[in-house]
Subunit: 708 residues, 2 copies
Amino acid sequence: MNPENSVLRAILNPRSVAVFGASGDPAKFGGRVMHFLLKHGYRGRIVPVHPSAKEVLGIPAVAQLSAVSEPVDVCLLALPATHLAAALDDCGRAGARGAVVITADFAETGAEGAARQQELIDIARRHGLRIIGPNCLGYINPHLNLALTSSVALATEPMPRGEIGLGCQSGSLMASLISHAQDCGAGFSVAATVGNQADIELCDLLEYFIEDAATRAICLYVEGLKDGARFLELARRARAAGKPVLAVKAGRSAAGERLTQSHTASLAGSYAVWAAACRDHAVILLDDPEALIYCADFLIRFGAPAKSTIAVISPSGGTVAVTGDRVSAAGLALAEPGAETCAALRTLLPPGRLFNPLDVGGLPRSSGLDSALTAYELLAKDPAVGAILIAVATTPQLEDKVRQWGWAAISGGKPTALLLTPGSLVDGARRALKEIRCPYTNRLDDALRVLRAAVDYGDALRDPPPPAAPQAWTEGPRRHVDGLPAGRLTEPETKALLRTAGICTTEDVLAPTPDDAIEQARHIGFPVVLKGVCRALVHKSEAGAVRLGISDEAALRAAWQEIRCGLEAHLPGTALEGCVVQPMLSGGIELIVGCRWDAQFGPVVVVGSGGVLVEILDDVQMAVAPVSAAHARRLVEALRIAPVLAGARGRKLADIDALADAIAHLSELAAALGTRLAELDINPLLVRESGQGVIALDGRATLTEQTR
Amino acid sequence: MNPENSVLRAILNPRSVAVFGASGDPAKFGGRVMHFLLKHGYRGRIVPVHPSAKEVLGIPAVAQLSAVSEPVDVCLLALPATHLAAALDDCGRAGARGAVVITADFAETGAEGAARQQELIDIARRHGLRIIGPNCLGYINPHLNLALTSSVALATEPMPRGEIGLGCQSGSLMASLISHAQDCGAGFSVAATVGNQADIELCDLLEYFIEDAATRAICLYVEGLKDGARFLELARRARAAGKPVLAVKAGRSAAGERLTQSHTASLAGSYAVWAAACRDHAVILLDDPEALIYCADFLIRFGAPAKSTIAVISPSGGTVAVTGDRVSAAGLALAEPGAETCAALRTLLPPGRLFNPLDVGGLPRSSGLDSALTAYELLAKDPAVGAILIAVATTPQLEDKVRQWGWAAISGGKPTALLLTPGSLVDGARRALKEIRCPYTNRLDDALRVLRAAVDYGDALRDPPPPAAPQAWTEGPRRHVDGLPAGRLTEPETKALLRTAGICTTEDVLAPTPDDAIEQARHIGFPVVLKGVCRALVHKSEAGAVRLGISDEAALRAAWQEIRCGLEAHLPGTALEGCVVQPMLSGGIELIVGCRWDAQFGPVVVVGSGGVLVEILDDVQMAVAPVSAAHARRLVEALRIAPVLAGARGRKLADIDALADAIAHLSELAAALGTRLAELDINPLLVRESGQGVIALDGRATLTEQTR
């Protein structure tokens, strides 16, 4: 175990807690904290800290924690910002191991707040004290009956105890999730908020949960990661430990990204990169916080299905039709029950029924209860079925049927999502399921999320883990990179850089004059392409600086003049550095392959459809760099254009091996460039037919000043 | 008013009801019906019909209804199938106006059941009696305290009274929706099930609701329409009457389509056609039955927003970030509040906050309540804001804030979706909203559905209604169609048909011999295209029957032989009828334009991307035929390839006028072909640059035997 983690373990499992700002008034933060500590029956020592009160809610108070002889494990600070520094110093002198800072108005409000936050950290560091927060709502540890939080969610009882570990950047979101878990019968090992993550951060919690025997599934609400690489390493460990990690990430949209900054001072990074990293590391990415609880509870209860096929059962013909439609629309595959199952179902049901989705409505009252259970059991034991969705609607003997189904599911059936579509009319059935600890949802959206998550997690576990990162770069290319200027590279510079990474490009040499260009064109052979070179020029085509199909010397001289005039019109006062001459290549498929720097995960490689498809199709796949060729091939196969590359409809198979190699090489270049990388695009990369390789026809790059 | 509709009005608003199969046992259908009639306090006359009992639940029973002197308005038949015919005859002789047949096992089980169903209809017709069902669950009219149903949803009280008219093909779905409406404070004018629609069908209910003063929004659960054209006509009338129509349609997937058949004997038709027809007629299409109630209630309460922009408010920074992300992901636009609003918000809130999505958390307790309301009011009065989403999370004074927001919303604020993300923790706030009749949802999915529906409905109302159908076909083309054989047409036959409709095609003339083809090629000018013609040949390219770029006579002769041999290999024993010669045309953009017959709406016209895009992109738009050129242009503009047609990135503008004309002409041809149309595809239609028109390069068609 990471030694730092044993500190976090002590903080989250304290034998004693101190409350700075303790009060008897539940309208105050420190008052609610005290009330919840007592209400939920925390059995450790509680030390209220108050400048003048002798006791708070009957518990003796102290004015200074460092005056207490026995040190406490953790202090909660619900104080105005001006009192925090002194209190934190007191905590440190008292030998506390951790402090939970609820107070807000730190880094999330800007530079001044960030400076105040740094002061807190400095004090804590001096004392070897770890901080949770600031701008958080504390945590709960239901196994200790400990609610060290001011969240009003703890006003209701009992605290939901269970096997979900929750790490949450937002305090009120934790409150919603606690309430939600209470309602649906799920619970937490620990649920903790980290706010601005000034010290203890989500990855610390993630590591704790991986090592914590009481935790079986891990839910995260993330606004920004402090260390993307550490997150991915922990995701690998969680996978190895058999604990699913489920996450909701804010900052997916431009507005959301600005909000994560103003809410918890978090840099959101690119959501697309985040999604790719999660997919590659078996992290279940959800779009909805409450669904974290549904999905985690389901996976704890049932594990991942062994197959990705779904069977649907409902006692309502309408509900089963709608549910079948939605299962298909969600991209989930309906199972095809085997012949034996079908034969058995045929004897149970009126004629003419489908076997999946299966309508078990309208059965005779005398045998309906038994038949409904038998139908479930037949599908559950069919090896063609991976998971089952029971969409409950009103039907005779509903409560008995639901109890039977639930019991069969949790006692050895297939992973089964029970969906109760009617409202409070069927609350009896909900109570019955809660009693036997069988998960259920109330909306089809959530049932589909649960199945999608379970199926994807099962699929991810059957895939090999992402291939290990390839060897680091050798010294030669590194020296080349070190010699490059910051800012935009020209096309010849970009291509030279690509060639050091082992990527085939056209062999552009800058021609300073038309005569040089003609010399090159003779060597290449007409017709040729002529392109203007100028560092300041970003969009060559728009400036008329790309001339295709030049058939002879005269045409080349004319084109040169046109490029020069076009550049002057486009960027007045800018001089043409020269031109490059390239062969006219045709055939093959144009892709865009690039790399860029992500705020969370660092170097990222991207591949997508090129040409006209860029405008009408968001056909892009990406991964954190570097990637192996095998991984690159998986990215290519996930493109929408993949069937075309694979030679569909009598086309020639494209050179996917060479493409995968080029992507892998570019990803290594991206990793080697490190923080110097801003972005680099090959557009287009021409993918020729199998055996003929790929070639970069154009490229551009921007490097930063930063050195590694 | 339609005179038939006054009969339906009498049936749905009866002064008296008879119950065949009446019983005191609530485990029986007829027992539940009797219980519900009494429990909910129906004040009309109730006549239990029972072969032997003198009374049922204290109400005098009769053995034969026709023995009663005063006729009843409606009879409910909860009887075994074998007793139905006699009972229905009794109803008819007694002068009843309608009969509700709950019994199942009719057309939904196959041909025998369909025959039994027809017998019922025959009996009813003889007596001028209308039938609801069979295979339905009856209806409720809460304004009369009338529950004429055996649905267990009526076991709870009170019956939800309100302004939603619900027409539902599934009985248990109605039950779920009644329960759901009860929970969220919505209610019905009438909720009725129609099951197999043997007589009274969804469109009858739709027409009733349009004319019914107590109904303000209409919800439909549809498995199959009996008359698509009537549905569209009624949709126009509902739009004119200012009553939104909301629908869920089953049979979207292959499995769902088979289910609608086995559930209510409904032909589902194409879901894509249904979706297009709904979009064109301002019918709000939802994917979820319960969402019908949410969306209808919202529209009744708030109407459609005047703009499609959304403002988001939440007292939780995490919730507001997630909500902002999801609003964007749902394709809804975030409003940009005006300068005045921003200035006012700035004085209310801590520094550094965004104004939309707006985090109103962490405000001082003393002013927080007022500020939360003021923030809402500022956004509500901002003309840049169309609708507001308040995502409620735990916060101090939550219940008071929610009550204030709800009150402000319903008393003149903007259309406002209140979302209560925590679970039962905030049930107090839910009760407060129900008391003031302010709609709310519990899941973000539903809040987004509500906003999407409201925004789309508002947008649809601002669009002009679909242009009226163009003039019918003239006699000439009609005679041409009448002369065509059933089955597959050859390419020259298809093109000849297209030309009668005014669509430009290559002028193919069948060349029976290579010499004829050479003659034609000389006339056209080499290079040419040579295509084999054979009625039995469906996929010409796969049989090698299309040869491009033939440059001279020798090549043409060789190509002819290759086509002949290829055909023999592909379809042994099939003779080549000849070949057609076409010019090699290049440039332009290839689309697919076609028409086909839909089981619900009849002739439908389709336009989509052609070429390689067909494989990787589902880029298709469609509409019920015929369409005007203006309507056709809207279809084209909705294609993903539209920017390319519009000349993006320096391309030439395509001839969209000619394309729209061709689509409109094809749609007229489709309408003129009527039931003779199976399918007709132009693939590709070459769209050339503006002013140069479009030309059908290839085409195929299949006609049916049926005559109009």
